[in-house]
Amino acid sequence: MTTSERTPRPVRAEAGDLVEVRLTVNGTPATLRLPARVTLSDALRDHLGLTGTHVGCEHGVCGMCTVLVDGQAARACLLFAVQLDGADIVTVEGLGRPDRLHPLQEAFGRNHALQCGFCTPGFLLSAYDLLATTPEVPTEELPQELSGVLCRCTGYRNIIAAVREAREESADGLPAPANCGSRALVGRAAGQAGHDAQQAAAGPEKPVAVDVVPPRGEPTVTVCVSTEVAVGSGQVWDVFDDIHLLARCLPGAELTEDLGGGLYAGRAKMAVGPVKLAFTGAARILEHDRASGRLRVLAQGRDTGGAQTQADIELRTEAVGQGTVLRADAKVYLTGRIAQFGRALAGDISRRMFEQFAASVGEAATSGRAPEGPVKPPGAIRLMLGTLLERLRPARRSRGAR
């Protein structure tokens, strides 16, 4: 099979509108009307009743939902059904007949290549694509080639043995899916994914005044940033004393309410590429000591999408000559969805946010105002932060960046 070079029909649909999609599923034409956000896996299961396609992680890691799209294996949870107008889909239901299984399925049976069976549809279609497009695939490459599907029973040896056997048996070419043909597809609970459009339009949650609890355990990220600003420590402390001004030095952040006793409600927005988070939360000042040059703040916030963050931030100032060295030590704790972006990424982004914060404090100490445009921090990070700020403040994108 080859990829068809079809151009899908033009569409323009508001959020919550139903969009018409024409698919061929296991040889049967199907016309669906779906909200744009419904994935192919949900369309197959919930709208066409084809529950052989399993759904595991729903974000493209586990491979359970692997199906054939125009003859190539693809993860059905990573495709919006509306994107597939005109596509040819084959699911495990299309592979073999109940009375005559596909040779791959026979090989899986003989080799005991399934224990609980949850991953089997994904493995079958990944293996079908592999053997159909590269029948000569060497045995030693099978583990890597089949690594797109996970088996939590860890029965990989038998799965690989089954695929190897199917490859040897079908030296003359792997038989095409045998259960594709025109038949009635029985739908189930249509359109169930479209209900919460109003819910999403309800707007941001009101900040809820809660107490700030000190984070515990190992921080996700530890940030240590030191920068020198060309103003005296007295001026820096004038910024620290004005807690609203200080908050605005963190890009996208502001305090919304003074709850008394060093407790504040606030919100912060951050954007990194396509990732956009809007946190509401609270901050408590634990220590505010001009004499020893120490300011310690605990902050916590929650995003509407369920991401949570806590930070234990200590700022220290030290007079050096005419200027001041500003040091920020922060322990950042991330939970919920945001923690998925673990790796070194969260650390690099947090570090650069604090670098920007330190640069803004320097600017505010000089001018007495929180900077409204991009502040140029020292060194090579300038370009990145300029872009970061442009994204944070899209309204200011018009030319005159300072």
């Binding site: 919006f80 690594s147 790796r343 070194a344």
Partner: protein, 276 residues
């Protein structure tokens, strides 16, 4: 794991796509293969107001060769390139593609989408930087060309404006005596790299691009020997629970030295073949 509702537009021309993005005023997002974007939407780390699907724009599906370079359009799938003779004409691309996610992701994922997503541990941005490729960004004021090495501004951050579409990438074709190297180390095949390297050797000049080691691809071009200190200095990520900065430095140095050696040997072998 369901994406928040979004408006959906699938225009048939580039002008309409740009107009759609411009009218969304920063709330629009381009989708092509969606293999990096859909997880972000599923986790609701992004809630774009409008998703602009560029798969209806026929002109973006082209692969064109001219003047010693190849231009790959925005909707060309990674797997289509992997199987095309292109992966022999631009060997570094052919070496890197098997490392990009899994086969199932490459069926739908696009070369240009990976470049625009700008994950610091992704392979294709590093290939584009190593080969000194050029991307074309098309917006309201028309197309503009940006060198890949200037395009990356940080983790998932690029020079792409909110009303712009990355419409193609232009990669130089290999010359006969060029040598290439590519390797990465990830915890499992298909995972993001802890550290990876792309190498291009031409005559006595070595271009090394590292990925997974900073917030963007890092490229150095050296005539003569590539020192360990230079390689170490390229690594500036903070590291995480899987690999500290020092570990990544060590990993990167070993990978880079190995691949530079292979690339030099390949280049030398071809030169000797030519002499005979």
């Amino acid at each position: 794991m369901k994406a928040a509702p979004f408006a959906y537009a699938r225009p048939s021309t580039l002008d309409e796509a740009v107009a759609e993005l411009a009218s969304a005023d920063g709330g629009g997002k381009v989708i092509s293969g969606g293999q990096s974007l859909v997880p972000v939407l599923a986790m609701r780390l992004a809630r774009p107001e409008v998703l602009v699907d560029i798969n209806g724009i026929a002109e973006l599906g082209r692969i064109e060769r001219s003047d010693g370079a190849v231009e790959i359009g925005a909707t060309v799938r990674q797997r289509a390139v992997e199987r095309d003779r292109l992966s022999a004409e631009v060997p570094l691309l052919g070496m890197a593609l098997p490392w990009v996610g899994h086969r199932e992701l490459r069926s739908r994922g696009t070369v240009c989408g990976s470049l625009a997503h700008a994950d610091p541990a992704a392979e294709l941005p590093a290939v584009a930087c190593c080969l000194d490729a050029t991307v074309t960004l098309s917006g309201r004021t028309g197309p503009r060309q940006v060198a890949a090495r200037e395009f990356y501004a940080g983790a998932m951050m690029t020079g792409l404006g909110p009303d712009e579409v990355l419409t193609s990438v232009r990669l130089p074709l290999a010359r006969r005596a060029d040598g290439y190297g590519f390797a990465e180390i990830a915890r499992r095949h298909g995972d993001f790299a802890l550290a990876g390297v792309a190498v291009h050797v031409r005559d006595n000049r070595v271009t090394v691009t590292g990925f997974g080691i900073s917030d963007r691809p890092v490229t150095r071009t050296v005539t003569g020997e590539v020192t360990g200190d230079l390689l170490d200095a390229m690594v500036d990520t903070d590291g995480d629970g899987h690999a500290s900065r020092d570990y990544r430095r060590r990993l990167f140095r070993v990978l880079a030295e190995r691949e530079i050696g292979k690339a030099r040997a390949r280049a030398g072998r071809k030169e000797r073949d030519d002499d005979q």
